[in-house]
Every structure is written in structure tokens, then in C-alpha cells.
């Protein structure tokens, strides 16, 4: 049974989720089932993490044909690039079931399905399979926001769904193009990543396909200027959904770029990397500035999350191993810190029934443990050394400077921008005099503390002793950068020259 | 000779279409559709004769079965509509108006 760990991790939640939706299951039973499934997935995930060899190739491979005539196969595997994303998708879910109990059973069913689909998307090594999971991933979100969201949920859910599907369809077209290109080149159909990354694509059609992929992922990440669905969706979604969206789903967009766009469209990618990097940096600054003036703290954190995603995405476009590793590391670091922030926020909202920053004050004296947890997560999100956030952010800035000094300098402003709105938020919510609405606020219960504590510890451990994690990422990142460098060197003429020279410095 | 049959089939089919678009009476519309089905049947049977193959007959049988099913349902709907509106005018059933 444990031979098919990945399939198990994917389909256990999906099947259970579908069961919860279709069968008459009570609310508490659904929650218990969800919790059990997610804990099992955590165990499987830990097993994978511990037995992962740190080679540069795929491990835990499962492969069987799905549609043989078109070369589509059920092909799963994990490598250093997907490992940490997989961990983020596997490890964080039990918290949701433990912390929030006032939802309907359909909510838990959807949550399970979204988890399975996300794990599937991360593990898929076949583009068509990936696309299927990618789309399945969106549906539960649609229901979770549309059914259980805030007052303006319908607008938000329609926007996120149509926006994301529009991007996905472009990607579907690009996937079909890739399959045809492979057919033309070799006479055989295949959508497997290893086969496709060997193609040398050129010409306007390849560029269009590249754009198709990039748009799909840019919307999911979201990359400036495709972020406009985000504030509404994050704000209107129930907290656990916001958590899923920001902590994990956005990362799958980043992961998609690294996994699919970079190896397949290496040439186009190298050519447009500078523009994409600008988009990342501008997005970081833009959303960071917008975050400062928000009155609703969920909305503020939505912008904050988008701002961080800009920096994370930037790491991919710098095309060196420091930045790429930084991005992969930051994926988990940001998932944990933002995840905790959103979860705590959900608890705060549940206790005080408001999200307006001005209604708060003095929580630190009412709920010191909550305040400490929030502070640790906040410090990780502003990249304080000693927390997980620093390692990734520093590596990305370091890599960005190698890529392009101006981009690097702009990227480093995140140190200042992040701290501005975060401290302001912390001041208004946790410091100052207790406000009316927080007068009867009570601290975290024992269960809540025990639920969140492991993640807090993880944040700190990942900041102080990150090397075991980096060891698992490094070989794959090295391999990808080496492959990319080769392409850049071959295609080296006008605009590639600068990159290369700086690289040898 | 067969082309005469087929031409007749075409002619009947066109008459059926004309019936559907020119009349407002539910019954007439319904029977016009039956007419089109019969025109198609004639085509099947004629071509079956041409090819000396009885597959056409089988298809004709199936069409009749479908027509019977359709008749059963359609007439039930007609009765319902008549009960609701007391009228047989297709133009008063315009809930799909955009």
C-alpha cells in the first residue's frame, strides 16, 4: 500500500471529500473525518520528506498510461523542486480542522478535495494530468467562497473563477501546442515533462505558448498586474479558504513556473526574464504600498501576501541558483508565516466579530500568547533573521543583485515596505489601549496553542537551521539552473550577454 | 426509381419544416414534426431497398419508437400547457425571452 504513497496522498482526501459531499454525514463527523485524513496525509508527507534522497531527479515515481494513443500517462513523482511545495500542501491542513468548527459539512468536503487536487498538481509529471488537477483545484474554492464567504462573496467568487479559468484555458491551448510540437518533432504523442523539456521550441507560436503558460501561472500567483482578483477573494473567503489560497495555492503557481515554464520554454524564459522580474518587483512594491492604507485587516494581509508573492516570483526570474533556492525555500517559509497569520486572524475575527483595524487595540495584554504567535509569524513575514523568512528573502535579494543590480536594489526595499504596514497593524491591533470590542477578548485555548505551536517552532527552526531543507532542494535547483545556463549560453547574443557576464563575475 | 422516393422524402421534409415555422397551433407544429420524422423514415427505407440491406428498416423502427416516445411526452406537455394557459398558441409560451 505504501508503494503508492503519492496516489494515496492525492486520492484519500479527494475520495473522502466526495464521500462527505454526497453521503449524509453530520457536520462534526465530517470535521473528524477531514482531520483524520489530513493527519494521515501529514504522516505520508513526513515519510516522503524523510525518505527523500535529495537526488536531482524524480523520486517516488508512479507511471501508468492513461490515454495511450495520445501519450497521456498517469505520471507522478517528487523532486527537490516539488518537495517543499508538497510539504506545504501536506502539513498545514490539520490546523484548519482543529481551529475552526463552525462550518458546514460541505465546507470540510471541499477542503479535502482541494487538498487532494493541490497535492496532485504538485506531484504530476505529465502536463495533461497537471492540468486536470489544476482545474479541479479551483472548483472547491469556487464553492467555498461562493457558499460560505462574506457578504460580497458572489462578486468575489465569480471574479476569481473567471479570471483563473481564463488563464487556465490559455494554458490548455499551450499544452496542446506542446503535445503537437512533440508529435511533429518525434512522431509520437507525449505530454510528459521529461519528454517535453527536451524540445527546442522557437518561433512566434512557441512564444505564444510561453505567454499562455505564464499568464495562467501569473494569475494564480498572482503576479502584478494580474492580482486584482486577490483582494476581494481573500477578503470575502472564509478564513480557512484564504489560508488555502495564500499559503498553498499561490505557491503552486510559482511552482508551476519553475516546474513547467522554465525547462520547456527555456529560451523564451531567458529572453523575457527581465520583464517578468520587473513585474515581480513592481508587484511587491505596489501591493506593499497598497497594504498600508487598508482599513480591513484581512484585506491588508491580502495585499501583504500579494506583495510577498512578488518577491517570491522574482526569485525564479533571476535565473541563478541562489534566487531559485531562495524562492523554493520561501515558498514554505511564506506558507507557514502567512498561514499562521491568516489563521490567527480568523480566530481574532471569530472572537471579536470585526475586521476593521480601528476597532481593535490592546490585544497583547488580553491575549499574550496570541500576540507572541502573531509576532513571530509577522517577524518571519518581514524577514527577520532567525526566522524562516530571512533565509529565502536574503537569497532572493542576493540572486536578484547578481541578475540585475537595479532589480536587486528595488527588491531589497521589501525590507522597509513590509515592516511599515506590519508594524502599523501590530500597533493598532495588539498595542495601545484595549478597545470596546476587545474588552472581553480571551486568549488562545490549549488546543489552539498546541495546534499552532508546531508551525511556530517550524518557523524558527527553519530560520536557525535551514540546511537540511536546502540540501533537499539544492540538487534539483542546481540542475535546472545548469540547464538554463546552457541554453542562455547557446542563444547568447545581444540581450543574453549581460546575464552571462554577470554570472561569471 | 429510388431517387423519386428520396425526392419525395425531401419534399415531405420541407413541408414539415414549413408547417413548424408557419403555424402557431401546438398540434399542427407537433404533427409537422411527425411529418419530418416520416420523411426521414421514407429515406431510410428507400436506401435500404437500394442497398438490399435491412439496417435501414431497423433504423426506421427506431425512429418510430422515438416518435412514439415523443408523442407520449409531447402530448402530456400539451395537456399541461393547455391546463395552465387554456390555449394552444405557441407564442404565449415565451419564458425564454431574453
Amino acid at each position: 500500500m505504501l508503494d503508492n504513497l503519492l496516489s494515496l496522498m492525492i486520492f484519500l482526501p479527494i475520495v473522502l471529500g466526495a464521500g462527505i459531499l454526497l453521503l449524509p454525514v453530520g457536520r462534526e463527523a465530517a470535521r473528524a473525518l477531514g482531520l483524520a485524513a489530513s493527519v494521515l496525509v501529514v504522516l505520508f508527507g513526513l515519510k516522503i520528506f524523510l525518505t527523500f534522497n535529495g537526488s536531482s531527479g524524480l523520486e517516488f515515481v508512479e507511471r501508468s498510461p492513461l490515454i495511450e494513443s495520445l501519450g497521456i500517462s498517469y505520471h507522478l513523482g517528487v523532486d527537490g523542486i516539488s518537495l517543499l511545495v508538497l510539504m506545504a500542501a501536506a502539513l498545514l491542513f490539520p490546523m484548519v480542522y482543529l481551529l475552526f468548527r463552525t462550518r458546514e459539512k460541505g465546507y470540510y468536503g471541499n477542503l479535502l478535495i482541494v487538498q487532494g487536487a493541490m497535492i496532485g498538481a504538485v506531484c504530476a509529471a505529465d502536463l495533461v494530468l497537471f492540468y486536470m488537477f489544476w482545474e479541479v483545484m479551483l472548483l472547491p474554492v469556487f464553492f467555498m467562497i461562493g457558499l460560505y464567504g462574506g457578504p460580497n462573496r458572489l462578486k468575489a467568487t465569480v471574479k476569481i473563477t473567471i479570471y483563473t479559468i481564463a488563464g487556465s484555458l490559455l494554458m490548455l491551448a499551450a499544452i496542446i501546442y506542446l503535445g503537437m510540437a512533440h508529435h511533429q518533432a518525434t512522431g509520437q504523442w507525449s505530454f510528459a515533462m521529461d519528454a517535453l523539456s527536451g524540445l527546442s521550441l522557437a518561433g512566434p507560436a512557441a512564444t505564444l505558448a510561453f505567454v499562455g503558460f505564464m499568464v495562467a501561472f501569473a494569475i494564480k500567483i498572482p503576479l502584478f498586474p494580474f492580482h486584482t482578483w486577490l483582494p476581494d477573494a481573500y477578503t470575502e473567503a472564509p478564513t480557512a479558504t484564504t489560508f488555502v489560497l495564500s499559503a498553498i495555492m499561490a505557491k503552486i503557481g510559482v511552482y508551476g513556473v519553475i516546474r513547467f515554464v522554465v525547462p520547456v520554454f527555456d529560451e523564451s524564459f531567458a529572453r523575457y526574464a527581465l520583464i517578468l522580474a520587473c513585474s515581480g518587483v513592481v508587484g511587491m512594491m505596489y501591493c506593499g504600498i497598497a497594504a498600508l492604507v487598508q482599513k480591513d485587516f484581512k484585506r491588508m494581509l491580502a495585499f501583504s501576501s500579494a506583495s510577498h508573492m512578488g518577491i517570491i516570483a522574482l526569485g525564479i526570474f533571476c535565473m541563478n541558483v541562489q534566487a531559485l533556492t531562495g524562492t523554493l525555500y520561501q515558498i514554505v517559509a511564506h506558507a507557514t508565516s502567512t498561514g499562521v497569520i491568516f489563521l490567527l486572524l480568523g480566530l481574532i475575527e471569530e472572537r471579536s466579530a470585526t475586521r476593521t483595524i480601528d476597532d481593535f487595540g490592546g490585544l497583547a495584554s488580553r491575549a499574550p500568547i496570541l500576540a507572541v504567535f502573531f509576532a513571530v509569524a509577522m517577524l518571519a513575514s518581514v524577514g527577520l533573521p532567525g526566522t524562516s523568512g530571512f533565509i529565502g528573502e536574503f537569497l532572493i535579494i542576493l540572486g536578484a543583485i547578481k541578475f540585475n543590480a537595479v532589480i536587486g536594489i528595488l527588491a531589497a526595499t521589501t525590507l522597509v515596505i513590509g515592516v511599515c504596514y506590519m508594524l502599523w497593524l501590530f500597533q493598532r491591533v495588539f498595542f495601545e489601549k484595549p478597545a470596546e470590542k476587545t474588552a472581553t477578548f480571551h486568549d488562545l485555548t490549549a488546543i489552539e496553542v498546541l495546534t499552532i505551536l508546531p508551525v511556530i517552532v517550524l518557523i524558527i527552526v527553519m530560520g536557525i537551521y535551514p540546511q537540511p531543507f536546502l540540501d533537499k532542494i539544492n540538487p534539483a535547483a542546481d540542475r535546472q539552473i545548469a540547464a538554463l545556463a546552457q541554453v542562455v549560453a547557446v542563444a547568447d547574443s545581444g540581450d543574453g550577454a549581460e546575464l552571462n557576464n554577470q554570472g561569471k563575475n | 426509381m429510388i431517387e423519386h422516393y428520396l425526392s419525395l422524402s425531401v419534399l415531405l421534409f420541407c413541408l414539415g419544416v414549413l408547417g413548424v415555422i408557419s403555424r402557431r397551433n401546438v398540434f399542427v407544429v407537433f404533427m409537422s414534426i411527425e411529418l419530418m420524422l416520416n420523411a426521414a423514415n421514407l429515406g431510410f427505407v428507400a436506401v435500404a431497398r437500394l442497398h438490399q440491406s435491412m439496417d435501414g428498416h431497423v433504423l426506421a423502427l427506431m425512429v418510430m419508437a422515438v416518435a412514439a416516445a415523443e408523442a407520449a411526452l409531447a402530448l402530456a406537455v400539451v395537456i399541461l400547457l393547455h391546463k395552465h394557459k387554456g390555449n394552444l398558441d405557441t407564442n404565449i409560451f415565451s419564458l425564454l425571452k431574453g
Binding site: 504600498i289 497598497a290 533573521p385 511599515c420 500597533q427 495601545e432 486568549d443 537551521y465 535551514p466 | -
Partner: protein, 638 residues
């Protein structure tokens, strides 16, 4: 690597562990007070004191080595390693870091002890000690780190603790705002620091990113890159060490409890920038331009701080501006490549400024948290120990021979003069005079003359022993620390400079005897003039003056805060509002909304043909069929 000393890792670890334990104790019991202050105090002080003992041990271990190989290091573990970048969590004890280590742990321990008295009765006693321990641990990482990145861990850590402790009384909005200001301004500095490190890494870091490797490869650094790196690192230093233009946070930081002001905002953290520049002396020595920038910014900050200090009324604000001013001196010192002089001033300053702050704390506590000097007066008799110790501190700060401040300040001024930086020297002497003036203005107004507020005076009382004892120890330090680096002209051997030599890349200027006499004479003259003016004006018990004209301008700190608010903060918020109100809905989301609108319009347009009559739909079908037939009969060939 000359030797491995695993106890190095414990020096920062002990206070950090203390912080963790205290923090957990506090969190576990914060709803009801189950743990007495004694236990907190014990746990809180044990870490710093053990660290101090370890530091002394390290010092002797180092001293046992021959001068040129005084390096002890300890690589705890590989922190992270990506591509050519490999950073180990390593600690380095060399003469420079050990000197810092000694006084940081000593002053830190003393202030921990002092805080037991000062914070007695505070509802979050444990939290305070936890923060203080955390700060000390971070500071020790900063000092001991064997490379810029490990230093940065401590660098940011102390910034965080500074924030937490400034906002300690967090119910008051002003304190929190001051904390935010400190953190954000420090972050602006860190922005420079991170960039400086990154450029340095891509310059020469691939061979190893610790000080020893960097020093060995420093000559490979391209000159322009060198200037960039030095200036960026200095941006970091201006943030942490409150130099122009980022000094604005330090005076506001006085919102924190007084021991915090003494420890963090006077003795240790704010001198980290100077330490950093001295650490990178091998870089700054290479690019003279960068050094000059550092020196001039330093001396201008010294002047500005002194001007502001002369017109403040809050006892802690006076000392804060004095700190800014003295930090300027230090930068002037390291800027003119007199690194050992700068570090020596850091060293002496730690004693006398901590002493002054703690004394001020004692006064404030005695007067039930009054800080305005114009409400004090004549406290000499009521607080004798505080008075005498503060007097020693004041004399040291003012540069009275033979107190410690005199020697260190003189060393800097002499180096400037001997190095040919006459302008810096001249301003330095002027500032020395101003320093003497505002220091004794404070002493005279607070301790001499008649009590200005009788009721306050009557209730004043000397502080408990736990507070006066550190004062006395520090006073001894302020009095005698200067002799450690006695220049040759007074028959000394400059032990500190020689001790530091292996860590620093500096060339000692060889000035003539006349230069030396001129430097000393200038300093003494400035001191005498400053103190006599102060004596004439304030010794007799002057009343609070009304500031007008320039004085008012200086009292309001040249309206620099307001200027920053108008030029930076408001535009930033304005841009935020613009993004929120205009750009987000109409520019970035504009195309999306336009697409949705077009879609809706198209729907409305096509709605017309949906008439709802079955027959019409049939006609549509027939039309389609007809068109298809036409096309087909054109294209099909029979």
C-alpha cells in the same frame, strides 16, 4: 583559524536561553502572578553574568596567544549553503570582538542588576527581563559573529529588542509610535546593509564570506564596487547608530524604560555601527572616499546632536542627543581611519553614558517619573550617590582630564588633526565645548541651586542599593577606563590600540609633538570654556528660559521630524491612498472591469434576438441550415 573555542557559542546562547525561559515563564503565568520577582531576577541575571565570566575567560585565552595570531573561532554548524554561498553559524573572538564582548557583558550585567530595582513592581517584570536577555544575546551574536551575515542576525535581533523595549509601555500610543519609528528607520539602514553585503558577496565573497577570508581577498575588490559596498554598509550604520540622516529615531527611543535607554540606546546597540565600520576596516582603509564620507557625516552629526542637546528640557532627551553627538565622534574617528580611537571611544562611552542614563533613571525614579529638568533642582543632598556618580560621568562626557572621555575623545581629535583633517578637528573641538556646556547645564540645573518644586523635592529619596551599586561600578569605569589607552605623551603605552591592532587595518599617523599639544590644548580649552559658561548661567539656579529665534528652532530640532513627515511619510501614505482609490480600481483592474463590461454589453445586444417564440428559434435553425446548404452546394462537387 588559529584555534577553536567551543565556549564561544555559549556566550550568546546563555542570555538567549534565559530569554526563552523567562518568556515561557511569563506567558505561562501572565494571568495570575505565580512567580515572584526574585526568581525572575535571578534567572534574568544569571545568563549575562555567566556570559561575562566566559568573556573574561576568552579574553585570557586570547591574551595567552602571540599578538598576531589572536584569533579564536568556533563554527557551530553550517547555517546555509547555496551554490557558491556558504554561511556557517560561526563565532570569532579576536581582540576587537573581545573588547566589545567584555564591556557589553559587563555593562549588560550591571544594567540587569540595576533593572531589578528600577522595574520593581512592574506587572510584566518577567517580560522585561526576557526582552533584556534577548537583547543581550542578540548583541553578543552581533559582536561575535564571524561574518557579516551572522552579524546581521544580531544586528536585526537588537533592532527587534529595541522596538519591543521602546514600545514596552504599549498602552501609550506615543511609545508604540516611537518603537515603530525606531524599527522602520533601522530597517532603512538594514536595507543598505543587506545590499552592501550582497554586493560584497558578489565581489569577493565566493571564497568565503567571513571576515578573515574577506580580509584576505579585500584587495581583489574593484574600486567602484568597494565604494558602493562601503557606503551601503555605512547606510546600515547610520540607521543603527543614529547618524544623519537616520538619527531621528534615537531621541524618540527614550520612551522606553531608562535601563533600556542606558543599555541599548547608549552603551551597546547604537555603537554597533561603529563596530561594524571597524570590522570592515580592511575595506574602508582601501577606499578613502568612503572613509571621508563617514568622517564628515559623523562630525556633522556630532555638531547637530550637540546643538539639539543644548536646548532640551527632558533629562533623557539631553542625554539622547548627547549620545547622537558622541556617536558622531566615533564615526569621525573611524572615518579618519583611526579605528582604534573610535572603538576606544565606544568603550569609554559605554561606561560614562550608561552611568549617566542610570543616574538619570535614579533621579527619575526618585521624583516619581518626572523627567523635566526644570522641575528638579538641588537634588545634590537628597541623592548623594547618584549625584557623585553622575558628576563623574558628566566630567567624563565633557572631556575633563583625566576622566576616560578625555582620552578617547582626544585620541579622535588628535588623529583627525594629524591626518590632515583640520576641518573635522575644528568642528570636533567646538562640539567638545558644547558638550561640556550642555552636560553641566544638566548637572547644575538638576542637582545644584534651589529646589524648583518643593513637593517633589520633599518626596525624593535615594535609590536602593541594587541600583546604586551598578552606578558605583560604572563610575569607577568612567573614571579609570581612560588609563587603559594612555598616550605616550602622558607616559602611557596605548595598550588598547596595541591590543586591537591585529584586528584592524589602520596606519597610525605620526604627528609631531606640536600637533599633539595643539590637540590636547584645544580639547582642554573647549572643556573649560563650555563648563564656565554653563556655570555662569545655571549654577545659581536659573529659571526655565523661554526659547526664541534660533533657540526655539533648535529646541524643535530644526523641525527635521516635521520635514521627514512632509517629505517622506505623507507622500508615502498619499501614494498608498492613490493606489487604493484610483490606480487599483481604474488602472490595474481597469482592463478586467472593461472586459466584464464589454461582455455584459454584448449580452445585452444579443438578447434582442432571444424573442422567446419557439417558432422563431426554428426559423433561426432553418436560416442556419439554409446558409450551410448554400455554402456546401458551392463547395461540393458532384
Amino acid at each position: 583559524m588559529e584555534g577553536n573555542l567551543s565556549s564561544l557559542g555559549f556566550i550568546p546562547l546563555l542570555p538567549l536561553a534565559g530569554a526563552l525561559v523567562l518568556g515561557l515563564m511569563h506567558l505561562a503565568t501572565c494571568r495570575g502572578r505565580l512567580i515572584s520577582e526574585r526568581i525572575y531576577a535571578l534567572v534574568g541575571c544569571i545568563g549575562p553574568i555567566l556570559s561575562f565570566l566566559l568573556a573574561v575567560n576568552v579574553f585570557f585565552a586570547l591574551q595567552a596567544l602571540p599578538a598576531q595570531s589572536r584569533f579564536l573561532s568556533h563554527q557551530a554548524f553550517t547555517w546555509f549553503s547555496v551554490g557558491e554561498l556558504t554561511i556557517s553559524m560561526g563565532f570569532l573572538a579576536d581582540p576587537l570582538s573581545v573588547l566589545m564582548l567584555l564591556f557589553v557583558t559587563l555593562v549588560g550585567s550591571l544594567i540587569h542588576v540595576y533593572s531589578i530595582g528600577y522595574m520593581a513592581g512592574d506587572p510584566a517584570f518577567g517580560k522585561f527581563f526576557s526582552y533584556l536577555n534577548l537583547f543581550l544575546g542578540s548583541m553578543l551574536i552581533l559582536v561575535l559573529g564571524d561574518g557579516p551575515l551572522v552579524m546581521f542576525v544580531g544586528w536585526e535581533g537588537v533592532g527587534l529588542c529595541s522596538y519591543l523595549l521602546i514600545s514596552y509601555y504599549s498602552e501609550d500610543r506615543g511609545n508604540v509610535v516611537a518603537g515603530n519609528k525606531a524599527f522602520i528607520v533601522n530597517r532603512i539602514g538594514d536595507f543598505g546593509f543587506v545590499l552592501g553585503m550582497s554586493f560584497l558577496f558578489w565581489g569577493i565573497g565566493a571564497e568565503g564570506f567571513d571576515y578573515l577570508s574577506l580580509k584576505a581577498n579585500a584587495h581583489l575588490l574593484a574600486p567602484t564596487l568597494g565604494i558602493t559596498v562601503c557606503l551601503l554598509l555605512f547606510v546600515g550604520a547610520t540607521g543603527k547608530s543614529a547618524q544623519i540622516p537616520l538619527y531621528v529615531w534615537l531621541p524618540d527611543a527614550m520612551a522606553g524604560p531608562t535601563p533600556v535607554s542606558a543599555l541599548i540606546h547608549a552603551a551597546t546597540m547604537v555603537t554597533a555601527g561603529v563596530y561594524m565600520v571597524a570590522r570592515f576596516s580592511f575595506l574602508y582603509a582601501q577606499v578613502e572616499v568612503a572613509g571621508l564620507v563617514v568622517a564628515w557625516i559623523g562630525i556633522m552629526t556630532a555638531l547637530l546632536g550637540a546643538i539639539f542637546g543644548m536646548f532640551q528640557n527632558d533629562i533623557k532627551k539631553i542625554l539622547a542627543y548627547s549620545t547622537v553627538s558622541q556617536l558622531g565622534y566615533m564615526f569621525a574617528g573611524v572615518g579618519v581611519a583611526a579605528y582604534s580611537a573610535g572603538i576606544f571611544h565606544v568603550f569609554t562611552h559605554a561606561f560614562f553614558k550608561a552611568l549617566l542614563f542610570l543616574g538619570a533613571g535614579s533621579v527619575i525614579l526618585a521624583l516619581h517619573h518626572r523627567q523635566d529638568i526644570w522641575q528638579m533642582g538641588g537634588l545634590k543632598n537628597k541623592l548623594p550617590i547618584t549625584y557623585w556618580t553622575m558628576l563623574i560621568g558628566a566630567l567624563a562626557l565633557a572631556g575633563c582630564p583625566p576622566f576616560s572621555g578625555f582620552f578617547s575623545k582626544d585620541e579622535i581629535l588628535y588623529s583627525a588633526l594629524a591626518g590632515g583633517h583640520t576641518g573635522i578637528w575644528a568642528i570636533g573641538v567646538l562640539v567638545a565645548g558644547m558638550t561640556a556646556y550642555y552636560t553641566f547645564r544638566l548637572i547644575f540645573v538638576v542637582f545644584h541651586g534651589q529646589p524648583r518644586d518643593r513637593e517633589v523635592y520633599d518626596h525624593a529619596h535615594e535609590s536602593p542599593k541594587v541600583m546604586t551599586l551598578p552606578l558605583i561600578v560604572l563610575a569607577v569605569g568612567a573614571l579609570f577606563a581612560g588609563f587603559l589607552n594612555l598616550p605616550a605623551i602622558f607616559g602611557g603605552h596605548q595598550q588598547v590600540s596595541h591590543w586591537l591592532a591585529p584586528s584592524l587595518t589602520e596606519v597610525h599617523p605620526h604627528g609631531s609633538m606640536a600637533t599633539e599639544v595643539l590637540a590636547i590644548g584645544g580639547s582642554v580649552l573647549a572643556f573649560v570654556v563650555g563648563i564656565s559658561i554653563a556655570y555662569r548661567r545655571f549654577a545659581g539656579g536659573a529659571e526655565q528660559p523661554v526659547f526664541t529665534g534660533f533657540r526655539k528652532f533648535a529646541y524643535h530640532k530644526f523641525y527635521v521630524d516635521e520635514l521627514y513627515d512632509t517629505v517622506l511619510v505623507r507622500p508615502y501614505r498619499f501614494v498608498g491612498q492613490a493606489v487604493q482609490r484610483v490606480i487599483e480600481p481604474y488602472v490595474t483592474d481597469g482592463p478586467v472591469r472593461a472586459a466584464a463590461w464589454l461582455y455584459r454589453m454584448a449580452g445585452l445586444a444579443f438578447k434582442v434576438i432571444q424573442v422567446g417564440y419557439v417558432r422563431v428559434y426554428a426559423i433561426y435553425m432553418v436560416i442556419g441550415l439554409s446558409v450551410m446548404s448554400l455554402v456546401l452546394s458551392q463547395s461540393l462537387n458532384f
